[in-house]
């Protein structure tokens, strides 16, 4: 808690005008001519942040509140009538929505895998395995593809009579319905999501590696440390901030950008096993004509994300404080 040198505090209200900052001066001066001295100085920063605040209030918070408000009204024949918590009870009793929430939990559990994949691969590139230049460029390639294209590619690869099962068949393994078996499909989709997005994490890891102290690594090698010991005792501690950052960004990616893949690869099926809240919202609003129920689901998703987001901010802040 020693580190109180936080730039955000230094730049609080009187920062802009009081410091005589270049941008603040003309505005502050013209205000000063109209009002008297101190008052104007106190007002100036609020005037300056007003556009941003208005945009956030008007285009973010106000619609959010309208949506929440809307979730307490009915659908169809009861359109516009207050129904209390009926939509939320319905959500709770809907096995599909419960599956969607359970899948969110599953995604969070799978997060270490999603972080370990780019981490390990970046380590190998950093340790200059043969062909590391080639891998460095190839690994990033999927990250520039749109989820729709990735989904279409893997639909073909993972089809029951597709190439993957053909390869498995050649070595005597029975074909697996990767996208048609309820217990497997969600893992297939998450696997593809990791494949499609690990390039971003890899780049962050590589940039983290470039800040590693090379002398430490050399010292470890001289002392006869094995590869596993180098990774565990030198690389991972040196990269803790990078790892935390990749954790947070990967989690955001998993929780918010899987709609495209789901839509293309499974459409929530089979048997509703790959539903995520966004997909559920889309189905209720678009296909089932239940906008109020969809609003209720959005509110629940918002609360979940708020929880996850707060945890993430806490994590990032702790990471930032370490040095």
């Amino acid at each position: 808690m020693l580190a109180k040198v936080r730039p955000a505090h230094a730049g609080r209200p009187f920062g802009a005008a009081g410091d005589g900052g270049t941008a603040g001066v003309p505005v502050a001066r013209s205000l000063r001519e109209r009002f008297t001295g101190r008052n104007a100085e106190r007002l100036a920063p609020y005037v300056l942040i007003a556009p941003a605040v208005v945009v956030i209030l008007l285009l973010r918070l106000w619609p959010l509140l309208l949506g929440v408000n809307f979730s307490f009204t009915g659908d169809g024949a009861r359109n516009g009538q207050p129904v209390g918590l009926a939509n939320y009870t319905e959500l709770w009793n809907d096995p599909v929505f419960r599956t969607a929430l359970r899948n969110v939990g599953l995604l969070i559990l799978l997060l270490p895998v999603a972080v370990a994949v780019p981490g390990l691969l970046a380590t190998f590139i950093f340790l200059k395995v043969p062909g590391h230049r080639f891998y460095r460029s190839v690994y990033f390639f999927p990250a520039v593809l749109s989820p729709v294209i990735v989904g279409a590619i893997f639909n073909l690869l993972l089809a029951f009579d597709g190439p993957l099962n053909a390869v498995l068949g050649a070595v005597g393994i029975d074909p697996v319905d990767w996208l048609g078996e309820p217990s497997i499909a969600i893992f297939s989709v998450v696997g593809v999501q990791i494949w499609a997005t690990f390039g971003m994490g890899l780049v962050v890891f590589l940039s983290g590696f470039s800040t590693l102290d090379a002398t430490l690594l050399d010292a470890a090698r001289v002392d006869g440390a094995s590869l596993r010991q180098v990774i565990w005792h030198v690389i991972i501690p040196g990269l803790s901030r990078t790892i935390q950052f990749v954790f947070v960004t990967t989690m955001i990616g998993l929780l918010t950008s899987m709609f495209g893949l789901l839509f293309i690869m499974t459409s929530g099926g089979p048997g509703g096993s790959t539903y995520l809240p966004e997909f559920y919202i889309w189905i209720q609003q678009g296909q089932m004509n239940r906008p109020a129920l969809a609003s209720a689901a959005s509110t629940v998703l918002f609360l979940v994300m708020l929880l996850v987001g707060t945890a993430q901010i806490g994590l990032l802040r702790r990471a930032g404080r370490e040095d």
């Binding site: 918070l61 619609p63 959010l64 509140l65 309208l66 949506g67 929440v68 408000n69 809307f70 979730s71 307490f72 009204t73 169809g76 024949a77 359109n79 516009g80 009538q81 207050p82 599909v96 993972l158 089809a159 029951f160 009579d161 074909p175 319905d177 990767w178 996208l179 048609g180 078996e181 309820p182 217990s183 499909a185 499974t266 459409s267 099926g269 089979p270 048997g271 509703g272 889309w282 189905i283 609003q285 678009g286 296909q287 089932m288 004509n289 906008p291 509110t299 918002f302 609360l303 708020l306 707060t310």
Partner: protein, 436 residues
């Protein structure tokens, strides 16, 4: 730092407060909720102005003639009215429409699928009975666009579920290509012969979207349910405890377990993978459609018109007689917020005029809802379908609500993967059907 911690709490409190005020704000929210781009202008007054039409067809090349003919017909009655056809992507269509309906403004004339999709949104539409009275006898398929005795759209096409089969494969298997099996037992042994001779499974099934069960239900229904059960199902009195209704679902599972289907139905999309497989000679039969895609119009050029046969369901329950399941396929309705209902209804009538439907039928390969339009050049399968239309009945799945269809899609996938029993699936379906 404490201040930052407080933010989430403030947000949650705000959210909770918004909830308390829901009753007061409810009328306002309906008109202010995000509709964004949905609200394209709709101003029409008297004989002048503009009508906006939403559909997912008008940008297709095969619909160009149809739109031109309909516009010409409308221009004769209202030369000063501008028409704007907005083609939306089909997979987003009802989402965009939902936003327009919430906003209470948008298109004047709207294309709908018959059945659940229009019935669920009938509140936003204008009853057309008084306007389309003159067309009632000329057009067929009204039931799919009717709710509580009121008509909400004029049918353009008829949509139904014949079973298509590959005649060349039947010939190769030593079966008579002109006499397809008429009982389920004969079908199962034909399947064995087809598999032996052609090395292909019997049915091409795609159930990724949950459509496979719908096509199965409507394609096979008339030979599983008795006539009385069928009629009461359509009338809304569905007995989910009846052994015949249960048979619909147990046979669905059984056929798959017996290996009659193409492998991996839960991960195969009906549109268009299942049809592509049939057309590519990877299965001998498919439960198809009779208008637009997934039917004779698409199969004839690939397999050869003489090689495509259409049949009715082979008999499962003794004493039933198979019939073609069909309904109104797509149709145009009028939004209740339109400025001049009579004008918009006139456009609907032009869109359903004989000239326009003749063009649509031949270009897009659809069975027109207009009884006076003859199917030209559809080959033997289209001829069989045309002959079956007079004895046809509404399709079983079209009578179900969108909600029940969604549950049925999920249950059907779980049945195939073995994660639910038939009895449990029936229980959930009954609950969904009674709720909706």
């Amino acid at each position: 730092m404490m201040q930052r911690r407080l933010w989430p709490a403030v947000l949650v409190a705000g959210v909770a407060l918004a909830g308390c005020g829901s009753a007061a704000g409810s009328s306002g929210t309906a008109s202010t909720s995000a509709a964004g781009g949905a609200a394209s202008g709709s101003a029409s007054a008297g004989g002048t102005g503009k009508l906006v039409v939403w559909d997912w067809k008008s940008s297709d090349k095969t619909a160009a003639n149809f739109v031109a003919k309909a516009k010409a017909d409308f221009a004769k009655k209202h030369p000063d009215v501008t028409l704007e056809f907005v083609a939306q992507p089909f997979d987003q269509y009802y989402t965009l429409l939902g936003a327009a309906i919430q906003a209470g403004k948008g298109p004047d004339v709207i294309l709908f699928n018959g059945g659940g999709q229009i019935r669920d949104r009938a509140d936003a539409l204008l009853p057309l009975d008084q306007y389309v009275a003159a067309d009632k006898d000329r057009l067929a398929g009204w039931d799919a666009f009717t709710k509580n005795g009121k008509i909400y759209a004029a049918p353009i096409t008829l949509q139904g579920h014949p079973i298509y089969y590959n005649k060349a494969m039947y010939k190769k298997a030593g079966l008579d290509p002109d006499k397809p099996p008429t009982t389920w037992d004969a079908m199962v042994s034909a399947c064995a012969a087809l598999k032996k001779a052609n090395n292909v499974p019997c049915f091409s099934v795609g159930n990724k979207e949950g459509y496979g069960i719908q096509f199965w239900m409507s394609g096979m229904g008339s030979s599983i349910l008795t006539a009385a059960e069928y009629d009461s199902w359509i009338a809304g009195k569905r007995d989910w405890n009846s052994p015949d209704v249960k048979k619909l679902f147990s046979l669905w599972k059984e056929a798959n377990d017996q290996g009659l289907n193409t492998p991996g139905p839960n991960s195969t999309a009906m549109f268009m993978d299942a049809f592509t497989k049939f057309e590519g000679g990877k299965a001998a039969n498919v439960f198809g459609l009779m208008s637009d895609v997934g039917g004779w119009h698409e199969m004839n050029p690939i397999l050869g018109a003489d090689n495509v046969g259409a049949m009715l369901a082979p008999t499962v329950t003794p004493g039933t007689s198979a019939s073609l399941a069909y309904d109104g396929g797509i149709g145009y309705g009028v939004a209740k917020w339109t400025k001049d209902p009579a004008l918009a209804a006139d456009l609907v009538r032009s869109l359903a005029s004989t000239d326009a439907l003749t063009a649509y039928s031949s270009d897009a390969g659809a069975i027109a809802a207009d009884k006076t339009v003859k199917i030209a050049g559809g080959g033997p399968s289209a001829a069989t379908i045309a002959a079956d239309i007079p004895g046809g009945k509404p399709a079983l799945h079209v009578a179900l609500s969108a909600k029940t269809q969604e549950v049925m899609g999920r249950m059907s996938q779980q049945l195939l993967s073995g994660s639910v029993t038939v009895d449990e699936a029936m229980k959930q379906l009954a609950a969904a059907d009674q709720a909706g």
